[in-house]
């Protein structure tokens, strides 16, 4: 896909995504747009289909009629295109038996550079993923995927289990990374995520709505205390 990334932003769009489990409609003709240089927040209650939407865009979940396009070109399944996007699932993605350095090598990432914002993590580069605490392994996975040379990153609850002081630093890293990437993030830590977002979508009853005033929108819908 020949495009001058220095001047022209890359645009990831997904639409036509409809999904139903039994009688329950999870996603109903959703349209979402992310472009490089943006952090896009995806908000919604537990079980409303946020993870399903990310997985569908990534291509790990097949949904008939789902259309994912990059710069207007059809890209399904998107994960098959090297350098396009990566996805952080809610669960542990890396095998417990490999070390952080091995995981970085497998993902073709400079482990030292990826963990540079967290000097205390450098010492754990040769520890096995299974030996790290839950919060540390989460942080390591987020950092590796953020550092990867892809145009987009889809992050499902990147702050989950990460301690507050690390969330601050991680937020700084996200701000730095968005210069070269488009980030689609879903997390229940609204107060930490909102300041990072350029665009906020709300998923409710299977429908996706862009919130022009995210703070007020979340308050009106009872997601934040007024």
């Amino acid at each position: 896909m020949a495009i001058n990334s220095a001047t022209t932003p890359w645009v990831l769009e997904a639409d036509g995504i409809q999904l139903q489990f039994g009688q329950r409609r999870i996603l109903s003709d959703v349209y979402i747009r992310v472009q490089t240089g943006q952090v896009v927040g995806l908000m919604g209650r537990n079980g409303c289909g946020k993870s399903t939407l990310l997985q569908t865009i990534f291509g790990g979940r097949h949904v008939p009629d789902a259309s994912v396009r990059v710069n207007g070109r059809y890209a399904v399944p998107a994960y098959q295109q090297p350098g396009l996007l990566n996805y952080l699932p809610q669960t542990l993605m890396l095998p417990a038996a490999i070390t952080v350095a091995e995981a970085a090598q497998l993902l073709r990432i400079d482990g030292h550079a990826a963990l540079a914002a967290f000097p205390e993590l450098q010492a754990q580069l040769h520890q096995r993923i299974g030996e790290l605490s839950g919060g540390t392994s989460r942080l390591v996975q987020v950092l590796l995927l953020l550092h990867a040379d892809t145009r987009f990153s889809l992050l499902d609850e990147p702050f989950s289990g990460v301690m507050p002081v690390h969330i601050e630093t991680l937020s700084d890293v996200i701000q730095q990374v968005k210069v070269r990437k488009g980030l689609l993030i879903t997390d229940h830590r609204f107060t930490e995520l909102l300041p990072l977002c350029d665009v906020v979508y709300m998923l409710h009853n299977g429908r996706l709505e862009e919130l022009p005033d995210p703070l007020q929108g979340l308050r009106d819908r009872g997601y934040l205390a007024s």
Partner: protein, 108 residues
């Protein structure tokens, strides 16, 4: 086109499936004793028996570790590509073990 990381990813994935695959291999070897087929001779029926176990392992593995594929998808490798490699690798290993065991029994 397969990713250049495929051999490493396949080895990593094979390691996580090894115990279940070995269990079925041992079952095939073990059942040959009461049926009077010991030492097992490598043939079409034995290979078919081994091949039939892969969908079972695939299904059980998917049920027990539904999130195991995310890493590989991030490496641009689809689940079917991993399993194709596993089937080739494990069938080769199984065939080697069966042939070696037969040689050992005959030699002893």
């Amino acid at each position: 086109m397969l990713s250049r990381r495929y051999p490493r990813a396949l080895f990593l994935f094979y390691r996580t499936q090894f115990s279940a695959l070995s269990l079925f291999s041992l079952l095939i070897l073990g059942t040959s004793v009461p049926f009077g087929n010991w030492p097992l001779q490598l043939g079409v029926s034995v290979l078919l028996m081994k091949l039939v176990t892969y969908p079972v392992v695939w299904y059980l593995s998917g049920q027990m570790r539904p999130n195991q594929y995310w890493l590989y998808l991030n490496l641009h490798i689809a689940p079917w590509q991993l399993w194709a490699g596993v089937v080739l690798l494990d069938t080769g290993l199984f065939s080697g073990v069966v042939a070696l065991l037969r040689q050992l029994v005959v030699w002893l």
